[in-house]
Amino acid sequence: MNAFVEPATMPGSGVTKGEVLLSVANVSLAFGGVKAITDISFDIRKGEIRAIIGPNGAGKTSMLNVINGFYHPQEGTITWRGKARRKMKPYEAASQGIARTFQNVALFKGMTTLDNIMTGRGLAMKKNFLWQCLHWGPALKEEIVHRHRVEEIIDFLEIQAIRKTPVGRLPYGLQKRVELARALAMEPELLLLDEPMAGMNLEEKEDMSRFILDVNQQFGTTIALIEHDMGVVMDLSDRVVVLDYGRKIADGIPEEVQKNQDVIDAYLGVPHEE
């Protein structure tokens, strides 16, 4: 993934495949009296696809928000690449290699697909304001180097045709894909996907699943994913953590989780109802 430019953070620095990349220990998060997350611990290993599932309101999205620094848990520690992390701002998490897509598409509607993805390269672009004013020399060169990287991602996700289209005009499925492209442009070490397939038809789901697997395999990106489509989750993920009412009720490989009685009771329903 880093063929052209040095990314903002070196992917994989210090953590090899299979080791723990991020671990969450005894994290609790409350909004006033409402407990969103209670004493949750789990880990994400480098190179895996980790699913977080649970019924609505179980605290999945809150969990992602904690991981990328948007919420600050009252208790517990988050360890990122072996170092306990302090309270941090979302843009700091971004600069450390955590990228994210959103449940409801959060693209920059007024900008073209290309500009949206180029914004994702912003952290890696260093030329200062004066060069930007001239848009010439080093600034232009930098712009074009990053344009090459962005074009690779555009090719990878097969969105060449909509390059210059303002994203507000695109259909929902493509918007989701552009959002993935924007996250990929950051060359993240950990990619958080919040319901990447919500509201898609079968064909779009198949495409998206394929892209997620490709990202994981070709780029070695670690992926944490929230999804409600159980078929997709069980097929894609290496390990699954199940939340219910802000607590962790199961954690393990998909087959184990599927058989776990708590999970069945809480979420999947009893077998004959499926």
Binding site: Y91, F108, G110, T119, K127, F129, I144
Partner: protein, 358 residues
């Protein structure tokens, strides 16, 4: 038929990212600039410069600055009049304190001073958004005008509270004061507008411009992909105020020559520039110019038409003009809420297909 891009192949990303990727556009703009710089100066007289061209260029610059803040970064500001006053008074203090200083440098430094003030009033933008921010910047408008009216140091304790520009020249040509030739004033302002128009375009199509637009469109997502909200918003305030300050400086030094702050930089100027931006098109460099053109030229056109063409009394014509301007603004915004720039874009798209319907 004429406006076709068939046969123009772009083989590099550089060519693809040019400001005018289509050759016809490029040539049209070069021709326009050549006429503005090389032909118009020979024909301008006092009336044309003072009534039409100078306000057009100066308000164009102010609208451009405000468009960067409102249109590109999504931070609404009603303090434009106040910031223009900062530019004007900074020029006055610089010119009276350092008589040796070149006028072009005075204008640039005035912009710089305004940028600092703009950043100060931009600080609340991290916490408050939308209408609430508008009210906060409105405070800037009233505070700054009050300050320049109240504190004698700013107008060198003159009895009237008025400031008037000393004579300055550039390249041996007098450019400020009553003896300046119209074409010199025109070219001076035009050079500033052209240069800083180009710079603005460069900034908004690069990393910084994209960060501004990201904050405008979805600030939470922008933050999660690594855009620092405070830095980005303040840079937009600084950049925008720099332009607005230069416009204020030019308005005082070149155009009016002598001003009284409460008359020239009142709240109505803030609204005028904001209307230019909205009518011209938010988030469009061209739109800023179109909006300024519309709001500067339309009243003149209406007045001439009604007084000379229809023989109305000038006082009546003035009232009807205000009425008609209001109606025109509403009409335009109903027809195309995205402003004149979008209309122009649609026209171009139509023209590309012409004479075929599809």
């Amino acid at each position: 038929m004429l406006y076709r891009e068939a046969g123009q192949f772009k083989t590099t990303y550089d060519a693809d990212q040019a400001i005018f990727p289509i050759a016809q556009d490029r040539w049209a703009v070069i021709a326009f600039a050549a006429i503005a710089f090389l032909v118009v100066p020979f024909f301008v007289n006092d009336y044309w410069t003072n009534a039409v061209l100078l306000p057009l260029l100066i308000y164009g610059l102010a609208a451009l600055g405000l468009n960067i803040l409102v249109g590109y970064c999504g931070q609404i500001s009603l303090g434009t009049g106040g910031f223009m006053a900062v530019g004007a008074f900074a020029s006055y203090k610089l010119m009276t304190s350092f008589p040796e200083l070149n006028i072009a440098i005075v204008v640039l430094l005035s912009g710089g001073a305004t940028a600092l003030v703009g950043v100060m009033f931009g600080l609340p933008s991290l916490r408050i958004k939308g209408f609430y921010l508008a009210v906060a910047t409105l405070a800037a408008q009233f505070f700054l005008v009050w300050l320049f009216n109240k504190v004698g140091w700013f107008y060198n304790y003159s009895a009237t509270g008025q400031i008037s520009v000393p004579e300055r020249s550039i390249f041996g040509l007098v450019v400020t004061g009553p003896t300046a030739a119209p074409w010199v004033k025109y070219l001076f302002c035009l050079s500033f507008l052209a240069l800083f128009g180009l710079i603005a375009k460069n900034v908004v199509r690069g990393r910084i411009g994209r960060n501004w637009m990201a904050i405008r469109d979805m600030d939470i997502a922008a933050e999660l992909i690594g855009v620092r909200p405070l830095q980005t918003k303040l840079s937009a305030f600084a950049f925008s105020s720099f332009y607005v300050g230069m416009a204020g400086s030019l308005l005082f030094t070149i155009y009016l020559g002598a001003i009284e702050v409460t008359e020239v930089f009142g709240i109505n100027v803030s609204f005028l520039v904001l209307f230019m931006v909205i009518i011209g098109g938010l988030g469009s460099i061209l739109g800023s110019f179109l909006g300024a053109t519309f709001l500067v030229l339309m009243p003149i056109f209406l007045k001439n038409f009604m007084v000379d063409g229809l023989g109305l009394l000038p006082v009546l014509a003035k009232h009807v003009e205000i009425l008609l301007m209001g109606l025109l603004i509403m009409g335009f915004l109903i027809v195309e809420p995205h402003g004149l720039a979008r209309m122009w874009q649609i026209l171009k798209e139509k023209f590309r297909l012409w004479p075929f319907p599809y």
